[in-house]
């Protein structure tokens, strides 16, 4: 098979911007440069545009009103605002926060930071599929728990959390539920009212919008305070002149996602299943990371025993394929992925993991190509590895 072209299967790391989104943004960079805060006519168009984007995002997640959407610089800021903003404002009610051990760093690190400021933080364990333990959530929820922060789905292993059940448990006590939907938004339907979510982190680029924009949904009545102080934009919760072109693009991306999600996610799920099945069938000693069915449509996370992820990525790259890995050797910290370790994998098992995340441009032909090149890549690296069992080398 010939190399079709460069194949990009690293969509959790970054997505291309949709051309319709780019189109919508352009006039807000060229012509409507006014400040939405201004009283004069130049402020009017940007102000309207902000409103429209807010409505589109509110509609995507079925928020009760557009004012519940606060624009930020991205998911990291939204997570920080949700966690620190709720903790600081509600410290009088309690100082206990619960999160899970497989959250993104922009959730884990604010929680760890709050720990140094006198808050107690519980990190819930997950099972081998990466599903948060509901029993331990029930056990750990106390009268002084003010916030539970969990992700909608995990970008690294694809596992979708039982958010509705989590919400029911959390709301038996007096705590708020914050959900980081960065990996899930635009891929699976999210309904903050049905799901019972108090705060929700959204990211623009993860929906093929521009980078550097995000939002935090805050249900009416949630007690929260800002972490950025200044001119009082975004109902005082996020000061700083709004990134109007970015927000317009984000709104357009949300509109497209709402319209096309069902069909596109079905298509992606089919490609995902084909890729996973193809890899597991053609490579001995390969395993799926994450949940087999409660799984993001774009996520094919597979690990190959006896070899290391970075050398797999280099080999894939030589064949024109871009993917990522949770191996210690690919991390700046030289630690294996905390997500994979939390699911109970051993260090050397986490080493051989490769993450393919699919996107709108990927085709079935590309999936077939990846399946066709993987066995030889693995075989070659296994021949180099001292860990490969002798029997395996003789019959593959």
């Amino acid at each position: 098979m010939s190399v079709p072209r460069k194949i990009y299967m690293d969509h959790t790391a970054g997505k291309p911007i949709d051309s319709r989104v780019l189109e919508a943004m352009l006039s807000y960079m060229k012509f409507f440069y006014g400040n939405p805060f201004s009283i004069h006519s130049f402020g009017e168009e940007p102000r309207k545009a902000l409103d429209e984007a807010r409505i589109k995002i509110a509609e995507l997640i079925n928020a009760e009103r557009k004012e519940s959407i606060i624009f930020t610089s991205g998911a990291t800021e939204s997570n920080n605002l949700a966690i620190k903003g709720v903790a600081n404002r509600n410290a009088d009610r309690g100082k206990h926060i619960i999160t899970s051990s497989i959250e993104h760093m922009s959730v884990l690190n604010p929680c760890k930071f709050l720990k140094t400021k006198g808050f107690n933080v519980t990190f819930l364990p997950v099972d081998s599929y990466g599903v948060i333990s509901l029993e331990s959530l029930e056990r750990e929820l106390k009268d002084d728990t003010i916030l539970v922060s969990v992700q909608y789905a995990n970008g690294e292993i694809g596992t979708i959390q039982p958010i509705k059940e989590i919400s029911e448990i959390v709301h038996r006590k007096n705590a708020y539920l914050h959900v980081d939907a960065t990996a899930a938004n635009g891929l699976i339907p999210i309904d903050v009212r049905k799901d019972g979510i108090d705060l929700l982190t959204l990211s623009s680029n993860d929906m093929y919008g521009p980078k550097g924009v995000g939002a935090l949904y805050i249900r009416e009545g949630v007690r929260i305070e800002p972490i950025l102080h200044g001119g009082g934009q975004e109902r005082g919760l996020r000061s700083g002149t709004e990134n109007v072109p970015g927000i317009v693009g984000f709104g357009k991306a949300a509109e497209i996602a709402k319209k096309e999600m069902r069909e596109e996610s079905e298509r992606l799920s089919r490609l995902r299943d084909k890729l996973i099945r193809g890899l597991l069938e053609s490579v001995p000693y390969s395993f799926l990371n994450g949940h087999p069915t409660m799984r993001l449509p774009d996520n094919a996370a597979v690990r190959f025993s006896f070899i290391e992820g970075e050398s797999i990525l280099l080999s894939l790259d030589m064949m024109g394929v871009a993917a990522s890995s949770g191996s210690a050797c690919t991390a700046k910290t030289l630690e294996p992925s905390h997500v994979l370790m939390a699911t109970g994998l051993k260090h050397e098992e986490a080493h051989g993991s490769v993450l393919f995340t699919l996107g709108r441009q990927n085709t079935e032909e590309e999936v077939d190509y990846v399946i066709s090149i993987m066995p030889d890549i693995v075989k070659r690296l296994r021949a180099i590895s001292p860990l490969t069992p002798k029997e395996l080398m003789s019959n593959v």
């Binding site: 070899i307 050398s311 180099i384 860990l387």
Partner: protein
């Protein structure tokens, strides 16, 4: 992120494999990231006549093991012992700073293999 030389050795590693009746074997684990490397040597007249490696690790680890076998092959044992991780990195036209620890693996594994050879020699002498 890697030099052409590193990629070349990654693509076509030299002296990869095992030596069944090796005179010395050295295995090290990488304490930093958890990887592993084994070096086998065959010694004749105090020279490294043959050398092979097996590596479980990143691209840099595979390339450094390949490179050190090239550098060590044919050398007298005392000379081979003097090969440092810096020599390996230089021969590869440099390594990214975060990957320097991988070149430790190669230098250490070679040292252990030579030590193992000396140990075996001693016990042989003791036996005869």
């Amino acid at each position: 992120m890697y030099s052409e030389k590193v990629m070349e050795h990654f693509k076509n590693p030299r002296n990869m494999g095992e030596i069944k009746d090796a005179d010395g074997v050295g295995t090290v684990g990488n304490p930093v990231c958890g990887d592993m490397m084994t070096i086998y040597i065959k010694v004749k007249d105090n020279r490294i006549e043959d050398i092979k490696f097996k590596t479980f690790g990143c691209g840099a680890a595979i390339a450094t093991s390949s490179m050190i076998t090239e550098l060590a092959k044919g050398k007298a044992l005392e000379e081979a012992l003097k090969i440092t991780r810096k020599d390996v990195a230089d021969a590869l036209e440099g390594l990214p700073p975060i990957k320097m620890h991988c070149s430790n693996l190669a230098a250490d594994a070679l040292k252990l293999a030579i030590e193992d050879y000396h140990k075996k020699q001693k016990s042989k002498e003791g036996a005869s």
